[in-house]
Amino acid sequence: MEVSVIRSCSQATNLKTELGFKDSRFSFGKFNEKLFFRKPNSVSFQSPLRRGKSGLRITAQAAQSDPLPKSKSSTKSKTLNRVRLFAGLPLDVVSGGTVNQFRAISAGLKALKLLGLEGVELPIWWGVVEHESMGKYDWSGYLTIAEMVRKAGLKLHVTLCFHASSQPKIPLPEWVLDIGKTKSNIFFKDRAGKPYRGCLSLAVDELAVLNGKTPMQVYQDFCESFKSAFSAFIGSTIMGITMGLGPDGELRYPSHRGFAKSDTVPGAGEFQCYDKNMLHLLKQHAEACGKPKWGLGGPHDAPANSELPTANTFFKDHGGSWESPYGDFFLSWYSSQLIAHGDRLLSLASSVFSDSAVNIFGKVPLMHSWHGTRSHPSELTAGFYNTATRKGYEEVAEMFARNSCKIILPGMDQSDKYQLKESLSSPESLLAEIGTACNKHGVGISGQNSTVGAPDGLKQIKKNMLSENLNDSFIFQRIGAQFFAPEHFPLFIEFVRKLNQPELHSGNLPTKEGTTTATDSVHTRSNLSIHMQSA
């Protein structure tokens, strides 16, 4: 005879006891419905509300002179119904091949699953995997995580980070930094010649600077190795892959170095075209345009990194050099270099993973400070030629569409009213602008919150999730002590719960079935806020 022991612990036991017994008392199954959601594994919206919206979406599509094929718009309305919620794992969840805080991650995954999240986001660092020497990959820690996530019944969104992190400190691979010691021109440089060691300069993408290989080849080998190491997960657990595109993984120049504290007004940023290779490209371009003198350097009258836009004449609201022919020449070149870089990496990723059932993403920054000026200095220095007179994100969205990639937009927690007035910042309108461009080109949008956090951030996120600024997924950054802290976690639970039951303020009320379509069809403008129509 044998005695079985079942272990668990008193409090948890009590809970389980209760559930267990109920199960046996009531008819089984009736009960184990998902906690907050009607659809398992997803953050879904109330159907009446959404029914109205998707109807709206389709009519809007039809009314626009948009070349999108019909079939695409119908799949799109489907994704609209379902913004999947992810949470990012700690940046340093793996170091030296081992999983840090294993128990905390385990418990965390379990909590997130119970909460009904779709999955987690896992940052995979170039500097961790290919740390020692070129071509020597150590995926072990990340494979452990993938397995944990799979067992937890969650999905995984992987971010391939070809950049460095300052906090926690995760540098580029040692051998890359070693090369950089002698060849500092593999890094971006500002006007003072100071290199940025957080990622490689886009100007060396196709130059054989890494032990005879080009960075593009190195990135490709990395992706291939990743693909074969995670073949068991790709398409089943791993549903999305974000390709790192630059500083902090974002498609941009490292124009804002040592980003200032939240209570000080950020500077305009600085153009980063001063490494040898960038200057060379600029020179070639200028010569090709017949303006060799324009190719000798960046704008002479741009302010330095932390200076205000008003510190010099380049960004002046009226009559600034940015509006001059030279300005147009330089900014076109500068932004096209960035887009070409993004194009190279995204098409690389698309081709590597073309036979896998995964979505490829790229992240575009939300350079929202100074958005209220005519010249948008922060965007310009970061490489987005978007001003009061020029829609710069069209080209970006078009590039994403070309590679069938989706876009990740951070800063979904930022609202205008909490910005410093002096910085003339407007995250909400910039987001809407990018959103419009993406919608126009049929690029799916996944959201993120900013790492710095924002007052009322969750509220703003929710607002964005219900708007069309977001139609694919949302990745909440990030799990960690602060995330689970008693000050924060209950708010997060509340946030997740409420996503299912959006407050029905007057503008957002679902109407009785049947009456919606008529009113909906009126709204064909692309302005997103109008979808809060009253009925």
Binding site: V3, S4, P455
Partner: protein, 892 residues
């Protein structure tokens, strides 16, 4: 959270996962349908079957640490360079017996089922019955008459009855169930539960089933039932046979088990039987590892002497290091006997048994240039003992003093690494997840379930939080301070005062009535001081909408129903003269407005702090604040202040500074701190530099089925989190301890006073120096009585808090009552023996009717009607004080 920790106790369990029973009712014939359904586990728990035949160490579960320390006779010569004793915790399997007996009771009419268990633990029989004609294997609650005293109904389908020792000398905990066989009951079903560990013991994955049907059929006076019964009986026969067959190989079951009787006997008469089986429980056992380092005067070499009382073969896996980096190296030979080299990285030495006692040890002779000695202990292939997840480290050079970093005693400091642990978690998640998502979602919302899942989410989050947090910043852990304060040196911090404070709450809910409370209290100042109090908490001093002062309006107007500002100053002065520190009761969470806004809502303030609605949190619709959302819970009767506003904080800091200066307050009692983030409190305290401060973080304890849970870890975690948020600059009222005392005293369940780790179950068990223990205050007691301490048992409460660590607070009403002299005596025992907020408490008994503890090895106490006397060993105890259901001793 809890489920996870317990798993760590498992060493090599065979994990068996069963999908949750999704079966709808099956015909009774099916064996399967009884499987697991009655067992209170479905989601997230794992079933571990232990094979009782495994060779195991059988040890006694209790071991007295003090006794062991005394036993270690590490060479006491003068040339000792270093000496330390590391406590280690391991998991032992303890083997015992468990029996089931069915026999006739004395009067020969009724029958009796007895279940007993010889292992120590808090055994609970979780049981129910099934009736004739029941289809399926549902349990039902037994009829009232069948329930032994002390049984607790679990919903409507089971009851739980504790197993008890009939007398002190008994080996078995037993429970007896009397029943009349002339009833409709077909069988008794049960499983056994150990409340101490949360483990469930069941019968090969099913409940234990004692069928009574034979007799009934024989008796069968109902025709319908009889016919139905034929089917049943057949099913039973089958069932029994199956059971019997599969058991034959395992159990030493005696021939007279019912099943065998059943199959042999066709006369269907209920027969008595007795069956015994072995049962294995895992208990954590404390052992010690002592290390001494001395220098051999002859050879100049360093000799490390390592000894332990861990039984069995213990292998020391060791090496030396050259510097602080603690990189393992192998020293030069010679090595002790039984040493092997492990992968060129370390040495392994089997400890040799000592001649005396059950200890083993080894001597390591090393050259003197080594910096440190590193080791871990290996008990078997999967069990390693480490020190706080690190190697044990013994400094060899310059080791005259050992910094507090190593070698403090803390029972939680080591963990056993075991592979099965991780498997456990992963499987558990799988189980949980499959359990959840395999079911189709339906529209019916069961609120309770949502709540339960929410609770579970919160617990998981709390666990994740505590790990993440601890790996980021080193929490000011008690471990460090405990060793500090054993020294007489006194460090004052606002969280603890000197550490020897005893607090008096100097008012009750009626104190405002006379209008001259300050003057009345002034007359009592020297009297209160003479009782031994060091700190007094005065009522809220500001102008207030309610007379008691908790609805403050103009913070700078200190004329209240308790008296004028000048009277207050006078009172504070007299209190200072008699040597007491004075706490001001400051209400920072909310403030009543002077004026209405344009919508007619009261949210504009007047007086010196003439804030507008930006100072009011935005998320309370009643007050239309324009501030940010509250950083805590809202108090709905008044506008809640938005502490995230810079100007608000600046003004409040200024105000606190003014109170310190102008009135002479020494510290603060903070009202309703749930309402705002502890980080702000830290800010206020750093600005106002209080001598002592305490916050009121009062929320509800955990209850299941209206009964308080034994484990209140999540409750105390919330309080500890708040203290943490203040960075330890404030203590907090130990609401958890009060709540647990309520249950323990009211229901005579003194076992509640020890947590799973054998520590006090309240905040005082986790962060004693920041716990302000109390049994009553103006809200819970006085004329409000929101949560009054069990009547007549107040002195037991005080005997507990005034002898235990933490800073005890005594309520005014109790001081000026018939309890006064007893309280005074308890305070003098506390002061005489130097018990302080970080004193060490050793719980020696936590049973149904008695709780006993020894504090700092100087004071022994017991509460409860049960018997306890302190041990008559080397220490001589003399009774210091005795009252109704409590006793206190001190060493003489």
């Amino acid at each position: 959270m809890a489920a996870v920790t317990i798993d760590s106790l498992l060493q090599n369990p065979t994990l068996v996962f069963r999908p949750k029973a999704k079966v709808l009712l099956k015909p009774p014939r099916s064996l399967d349908c009884s499987r697991n359904r009655k067992l209170p586990l479905s989601r997230g728990s794992c079933l571990c079957s232990f094979n009782p035949r495994r060779t195991i160490h059988v040890v006694r579960a209790s071991s007295s640490e003090t006794a062991l320390i005394g036993n270690f006779d590490i060479s006491s010569s003068d040339d000792i360079l270093y000496k330390d004793i590391f406590p280690v915790k391991r998991i032992e399997k303890v083997e015992g017996k468990f029996f089931i007996r069915l026999d006739r009771s004395k009067d020969q009419h009724d029958w009796q089922l007895t279940v007993g268990c010889s292992l120590p633990g808090k055994w609970i029989l979780h049981w129910g019955v099934s009736y004739l004609g029941d289809s399926g294997s549902e349990w039902d609650q037994p009829p009232k008459g069948m329930r032994p005293p002390g049984s607790i109904p679990i919903k409507d389908y089971a009851i739980e009855t504790p197993l008890k020792k009939l007398s002190e000398g008994d080996i078995f905990h037993e429970v007896k169930i009397d029943f009349n066989p002339i009833s409709e009951i077909a069988a008794i079903h049960f499983v056994l539960k150990d409340e101490e560990t949360g483990a469930w013991y069941q019968h090969r994955g099913m409940d234990f089933k004692v069928p009574l049907v034979d007799y009934l059929e024989d008796d069968g006076n109902i025709v319908g039932a009889k016919r139905g019964f034929g089917v049943w009986s057949g099913a039973l026969q089958q069932f029994s046979n199956v059971l019997l067959k599969s058991e034959a190989s395992h159990a030493d079951s005696q021939n007279n088990s019912i099943e065998s009787k059943d199959s042999k006997n066709k006369n269907r008469c209920l027969e008595g039987f007795y069956e015994e089986q072995s049962i294995v429980k895992e208990v954590s056992v404390g052992n010690l590892v002592s290390v001494a380092v001395r220098k051999s005067p002859e050879t100049g070499k360093v000799i490390v002497c390592l000894e332990t009382d861990i039984p069995g073969d213990v292998v020391v896996h060791w090496g030396v290091c050259r510097d602080d980096a603690k990189i393992w190296e192998i020293p030069a030979a010679p090595y002790p006997p039984e040493t092997t080299v492990f992968k060129n990285k370390a040495l392994r030495t089997l400890l040799q048994p000592k001649a005396t006692g059950n200890r083993s040890g080894a001597l390591f002779t090393l050259d003197e240039e080594h910096f440190g000695f590193l080791f871990v202990l290996k008990l078997d292939e999967n069990t390693w003992l480490k020190f706080k997840e690190n190697d044990f480290y013994v400094p060899l050079l310059g080791t005259s003093s050992v910094p507090g970093q190593y070698g403090q005693s803390d029972s939680t400091s080591e963990e056993i690494s075991s592979k099965s642990y991780t498997d456990g978690i992963i499987n558990e998640i799988r189980n949980l997840v499959s359990g959840l998502s395999s079911e189709k979602s339906q529209k019916t919302k069961k609120k309770e379930v949502q709540e339960s899942i929410l609770q579970e989410i919160e617990q998981l989050a709390a666990e994740a939080y505590s790990i993440f947090r601890s790996s980021i910043t080193t929490v000011p852990d008690e471990v460090v301070s405990e060793t500090e304060t054993t020294k007489p040196a006194v460090k004052i911090s606002s969280g603890t005062g000197t550490g020897f404070e005893i607090l008096c709450q100097g008012f009750n809910w009626e104190s405002h009535k006379s209008g001259r409370w300050y003057m009345e209290l002034k007359e009592k100042a020297s009297e209160i001081s003479s009782l031994g109090f060091t700190v007094i908490w005065l009522p809220p001093p500001t102008e207030s909408v309610s007379p008691e002062g908790y609805m403050p309006k103009d913070l700078y107007n200190l004329n209240s129903r308790y008296g004028t500002i000048d009277e207050l100053k006078e009172l504070v002065k007299s209190l200072h003269e008699v040597g007491m520190k004075v706490l001001g009761d400051v209400v920072l969470n909310h403030r009543c407005a002077h004026f209405k806004n344009q919508n007619g809502v009261w949210n504009i303030f007047g007086g010196r702090l003439n804030w507008d609605d930006r100072a009011v949190v935005a998320d309370d619709p009643h007050f239309q604040g324009r501030g940010n959302k509250s950083s805590g819970d809202n108090f709905h009767a008044a506008p809640n202040i938005d502490h995230s506003q810079e100007f608000v904080r600046k003004d409040l800091k200024e105000w606190l500074g003014w109170l310190r200066e102008e009135i002479g307050y020494d510290g603060w009692r903070l009202d309703f701190v749930r309402g705002f983030w502890g980080g702000y409190v830290k800010d206020y305290f750093e600005a106002s530099g209080p001598y002592f401060a305490v916050g009121e973080y009062w929320d509800s304890l955990s209850y299941t089925y209206g009964e308080m849970d034994h484990n209140q870890d999540s409750h105390r975690q919330r309080i500890v989190d708040w203290i943490n948020a203040t960075n330890g600059t404030a203590g907090a009222f130990d609401v958890t301890t009060k709540g647990i005392l309520h249950s323990a005293l009211e229901r005579c369940e003194y076992w509640r006073l020890s947590d799973q780790k054998g520590k006090p179950p309240g905040v005082v068990g986790w962060w004693p120096s920041r716990a302000v223990t109390f049994i009553e205050n103006h809200d819970t007691g006085s004329t409000q009585g929101h949560w009054r301490f069990p009547g007549g048992k107040e002195m037991q409460g005080y005997a507990y808090i005034l002898t235990h660590p933490g800073t005890p607070a005594v309520f005014y009403d109790h001081i000026f009552s018939h309890h006064r002299s007893e309280i005074a005596s308890l305070i003098s025992v506390r002061n005489r023996n130097g018990i302080h907020c970080r004193s060490l408490v050793k719980i020696v008994k936590a049973e149904r009717d008695v709780y006993a503890a020894i504090i700092d090895e100087k004071v022994a106490m017991k509460i409860g009607p049960g018997y306890y006397e302190p041990p008559s060993g080397s220490q001589r105890w003399s009774l210091a004080l005795e009252g109704r259901d409590y006793k206190v001793w001190e060493t003489s």
